[in-house]
Symmetry: C3
Subunit: 341 residues, 3 copies
């Protein structure tokens, strides 16, 4: 996939300033770009890089006036960042495999209807009673259990597993190795100290436009449903326990864990490796720093950090105080000494 | 699956108080139940919900006397909670797929005997020398390596991987994506700063009645065996390193990590995201709070929390003191000031 | 696999002192060894075990003189630890399955060349454009996406997934369930609070002699490449986000997370459950204790611990001070009281 500066300029309505024959085959940031890369200059802070970059093409604003000679071919556009985003989308669609049809051998239970524009990869397993929307892509080695429903345009990447009865919305992306609907972790202690498994007969419901990261686990509810709201994005290796409910358009970074029955609101931003206690309520528009521990309810709009979590600004202050504890002990000792005299 | 109040009462020896024709198709907690749900009232604290619930059927004690009119049909039994638990078990067995037989295509090495009541799902791989107990279920895309032994009634969910030589007890549940018996993480540094892999020739031994959560990893021993004791339950995304030994009837929540050669006793309860250092001994009946870090041995019966962990009560006190550090610095400053005068 | 003391001595150039007919079938540490095990004595601290061990054979130095009677057969060699390591290597090679050939059913896209000494397990998926080095082993149910390159001698264990375009070096080991090249976690907020997915068109590049643990995830770059350097070893359940770069011969323990665009140097040793913020630089030969949080750049050779991390020695001191906070509050109160009088 190689494009000339002239072709790109024509595609995006830009103006070539330099060699229209120069070719690119990749994208890069301006500070890292090598020969063959297309990059862009949007933030004035990065302007100095344009005089040293090895990039072959740089997208710049129409009114950009170089203060020194520039080796790269410039393509002048109204909004370099927006144009780059669009080019990235085109490239992504061109580069990401988007197969259609049913590869063999795959397993599709009798009676399951596969839409004509869907993809079922080799070694994928589609159990009885499954309902698939149009354009669904089930990559190789993925498992779709009994009675699962998957909305249109959703992509299930290789080896993801959806246990029986779960419901996945439209335009979702479930990455490789994610496990949706395994049993919640519930056991009743018996008098002899052993445990009796509490049946987990609920399901998992995932809204539209949700992305679930690689090897993330979302457990089925004991009764009812574990819920991931519309537009929410979960990173890799996250644990969402049984009966958790995560709102809409909430973003959670990798390795965070949410204990059972906890509810997290809409529009939250949660850092990586955070732990939420069970049975708590976290409001809307909450921001939580990485590695925090959240033992209690959190009101709307709070910004927390730490273990146990405190308001973000208090966390920085606490850390500073803790660094000075040795000094404080010394000062108290000095006071005690002078008092005795 | 829909049942009438009259059918349920007959099944469980209850007495209908209301419409015997009303139907239910699901279970719910009394505070969340909607039309079509069966719920129960056991804890008197929840009694007020019975007058407002939309549940279609409520299991109540035989001597329950409503203080106000109740819309739901009541079914009177001796012990509502016990009856509900039994109904949940029935429902769980009815709803959880329990297939039998060998689906094709699957891979079973020559000479491996598959019991008549076992299940081998499509795309499952059963290597040579494997021994399977009666009623074992190997779901699709699971991998059972060379010489593995699996006890009767054990379920291996889709995509779980058991490396060669490992031994799994009877009535275990291994959830999707769990990896049992990958190499322990052992490397000997060489003079040039690179590493030589130390062979990991041990195995993993899992006792009877163990449950292993989705995407949890239990590494094989360097020599000998990593051991998970009878009745122990591991949640999702847990790491148990090489030569760890976890006792019997111990419960460990998600994302906890146990470093190499550490031993954890029987009847312990370990929170989520806890980290155990390597080569330490943790006693029996120990309770450890979420996100704790355990650097040293822990005696029987201890209750710890924090990073590094301290007794549970000290942790709360420490957190309270830390919140007041700013105040303490101010007080010390005031003392210093008044001393100078 | 059973060997007599005489056979072993002949193999390793040792001298039998005891019964040359005694047999062993396993290895063990001297303090744990039972009948049938071969062990070794290298560290004088462990000498007392030789008089009580149930091991059948003990490797000892040629000049070892027992102070009491020894039941085990001794095999005298120049360097017992080195000899044991060699025997372990032999045993490991003998015990670890090392299959060759193409099992059926597997999926190999037309045009992909499978070297004669390679292994493609049943239900493995090898997409179009894949290039495989000699001796590569792709275990069952592994996925190798479009255009992936894998260097000679690399082993991909069951169910590991390599997304399209990624490059894996020679002699690497990718354990079961690892996911290489899933989309980085990048979303642009829209005015209505929902998110637009930022295309992730980069790849993952893994150097030679790298080991990636079970269920570890290494995301593809937004642009360019996420990089794991030559000789680096990642344990299980690690998250390496998009555009992270990890140097050569660095060792990272389980469940650690590295946020986007962070660079970690060469020869580092990183504990388990550590979290690295995004866009930071960590130098060479850095050591970081388990569960630490690294918010900022780290210079070469630093040894850090804590959340947020501080120099290792300060961490121990801080923890000690924090334990004494109650005492400090009491002392300050006493000073205040005496001042008032």
């Amino acid at each position: 996939m190689e494009f000339k500066a002239g072709q790109i300029a024509a595609l995006i309505g830009g103006e070539v300033d330099g060699d229209p024959e120069v070719c690119v085959n990749t994208f890069a940031k301006i500070e890292e770009a090598r020969t063959g890369a297309l990059t862009f200059l949007a933030n004035p802070k990065y302007t100095h890089y344009i005089y040293t970059t090895d990039a072959s093409i740089v997208l710049v604003r129409r009114d950009f006036v170089p203060a020194q000679p520039v080796r790269a071919t410039l393509v002048r556009v109204d909004d370099p960042y927006a144009v780059l985003s669009n080019l990235l989308e085109y490239a992504s669609q061109a580069m990401t495999p988007s197969p259609v049809g049913i590869e063999q051998p795959s397993f599709v239970a009798p009676g399951v209807e596969i839409p004509g524009d869907a993809y079922i990869g080799a070694f994928a397993y589609v159990a009885d009673g499954v309902r698939l929307g149009s354009g669904v892509k089930i990559f190789p080695q993925a498992y779709v259990g009994h009675g699962v429903e998957i909305g249109e345009g959703t992509v299930i990447y290789p080896g993801a597993k959806i246990y029986h009865g779960c419901r996945i919305g439209a335009r979702c992306i479930i990455h490789a190795g994610a496990v949706i609907g395994a049993d919640g972790f519930g056991f009743a202690p018996l008098p002899d100290g052993s445990y009796h498994k509490i049946p987990q007969i609920g399901i998992v419901t995932i809204g539209d436009d949700v992305e679930i990261g690689a090897n993330t686990t979302v457990d089925r509810a004991t009764m009812g449903s574990t819920v991931i709201g519309r537009g929410t994005k979960l990173d890799n290796l996250i644990q969402a326990a049984h009966n958790t409910e995560i709102g809409c358009n909430t973003v959670i970074a990798a390795q965070t864990g949410i204990a059972g029955s906890t509810r997290i609101g809409d529009y939250c931003m949660i850092g990586g490796q955070v732990g939420f206690a069970g049975h708590i309520q976290v409001g809307d528009r909450v921001k939580i720093g990485a590695q925090s521990g959240i033992p209690n309810n959190v009101p709307d709009g709070a910004r927390l950090m730490g273990y146990p979590a405190v308001p973000e600004m208090d966390f920085a202050r606490q850390a500073a105080y803790i660094k000075r504890l040795g000094e404080l002990f010394t000062r108290v000792k000095a006071l005690e000494k002078s008092e005795k005299q």
